[in-house]
Symmetry: C2
Subunit: 231 residues, 2 copies
DNA sequence: CGGCTTATTGACATACGTCAACTATTGTGG
DNA sequence: CCACAATAGTTGACGTATGTCAATAAGCCG
């Protein structure tokens, strides 16, 4: 836990959100920010806590985890390097709806909620960037809801694989960015069922070895998944 | 199809989003807006079309409908009087991810996308209101994703009923705002399964006659649903 | 009142979850 | 670098929730 360094500040210049700030504003905003370096599996905050920090993934990977009765858990979404998460809770000063846990060794930037909120309120450029970011996030979730309601487990897996691939090609290789168990929960199924989903996709030219997944017939896979081009 | 009248403009003064505009700005923005009055079942736009209008429900009720292969359809969300929908597509100038259909006789205000976007970019108060609205919408969807991934069909129905009720009370009566078939799709199940979900909830004190639903034991229902207070 | 739509019920099919055993992979200390 | 433990993933057997189809019943509207 340390205050953010100048050189690291530099790297944020090109950031979707923080990059729109002036050098000065960025410095002021980040003055009280923290940078945490933590191993895979660390819990950053828990569902129900009040939103004290806006989080930015500097390195690594984070899962947002929803739980109902303290027993069942699911992964709502992953965020990776450069992604900002939990902004709606920060903007609305509401408690987190989910917990967050690193799924890789990660560096996370924590920006205190209040100064961030104040900056959004007074800085039009930042506010506009926030609007765009929130809009993108909304559309990601919409796709997920449609996925859950309209597609079977193997189709959800196939769509996910396609989202990692260059779908203009006939074939390709993708690398799973997360462990299968986590991926299963993100896709709304059990690890066992994820295995079976991989098996079912063999007919559509999907082979996997470790984290490498070979897509030998992308058109067939798209057909099978009723894959939806809209982004 | 007619240009919006002055008296109707008046009613928007108290609106979450449009109410933050100055009289002048509101007039300018709404000058080219349209007000449609249409029966239940009208399609407002289709998934994949480019976003030409921001939509505001003045009266009635609208369903956002997601479809995959032109055969299967689901309801992603309902919007009611006062709600604004499809803002992310408008802000990002992206195609709609869903279709929209009235589920009641409705009056809808259509605000042309480009002037709205320009107003957001130049008007800090509006932009801030947009940020709040997007944040609220995000959190609604998060709750839905958690629902779909963590709860059974009867639990989802129960949670939905609780969201309509005053949960501080011991019991209450709620009115279903939509037809059961539509509600079933919103909750991610078939109409047949919705019927069965109602039956299963009888043990938790739920009786329904027509659109009236009596909740006789709200604490028991909350317990059964693992209902989540976070809003 | 009759005809149309919507909701319910029953019988059945299927997808998915669960549990347990087994296998593969990863990480660690000798 | 190996051996072994710990963890993660797979497979099979089985149970359950939910979807499907068809028949019936209930609302709704002219």
């Amino acid at each position: 836990m340390e205050t953010i360094q100048d050189e690291k500040l530099e790297a944020l210049k090109g950031h979707r959100l923080l990059g729109v700030l002036s050098e000065n504003a960025r410095q002021t905003l980040l003055k009280d920010s923290l940078e945490l370096e933590m191993p895979s599996g660390t819990t950053l905050f828990r569902q129900g806590e009040s939103a004290r920090f806006l989080h930015v993934v500097l390195e690594g990977r984070v899962a947002l985890i929803g739980s109902s009765d303290h027993k069942d858990e699911t992964v709502v979404e992953f965020f990776r390097e450069g992604d900002v998460f939990i902004m709606p809770a920060v903007v609305l000063e509401m408690p987190y709806l989910m917990s967050a846990r690193t799924v890789d060794d990660s560096r996370i930037l924590l920006i205190p909620a209040t100064p961030f909120r104040e900056e959004v309120e007074s800085n039009a450029a930042l506010n506009l960037a926030v609007t765009h970011e929130l809009s993108r996030h909304w559309r990601l979730l919409i796709r997920q809801v449609k996925d859950l309601k309209l597609r079977s487990a193997p189709q959800r897996l196939g769509s996910y694989l396609l989202s990692l691939a260059d779908t203009d090609q006939q074939s390709g290789v993708v690398e799973l960015p997360e462990q299968r168990g986590m991926l299963a929960r993100r896709l709304g199924m059990t690890p066992e069922n994820l295995s079976r989903a991989f098996n079912r996709l063999q007919d559509s030219g999907v082979r996997s070895r470790g984290r490498q997944v070979m897509l030998d017939d992308i058109p067939a896979l798209r057909e099978f998944c009723a894959y939806d081009e809209l982004v």
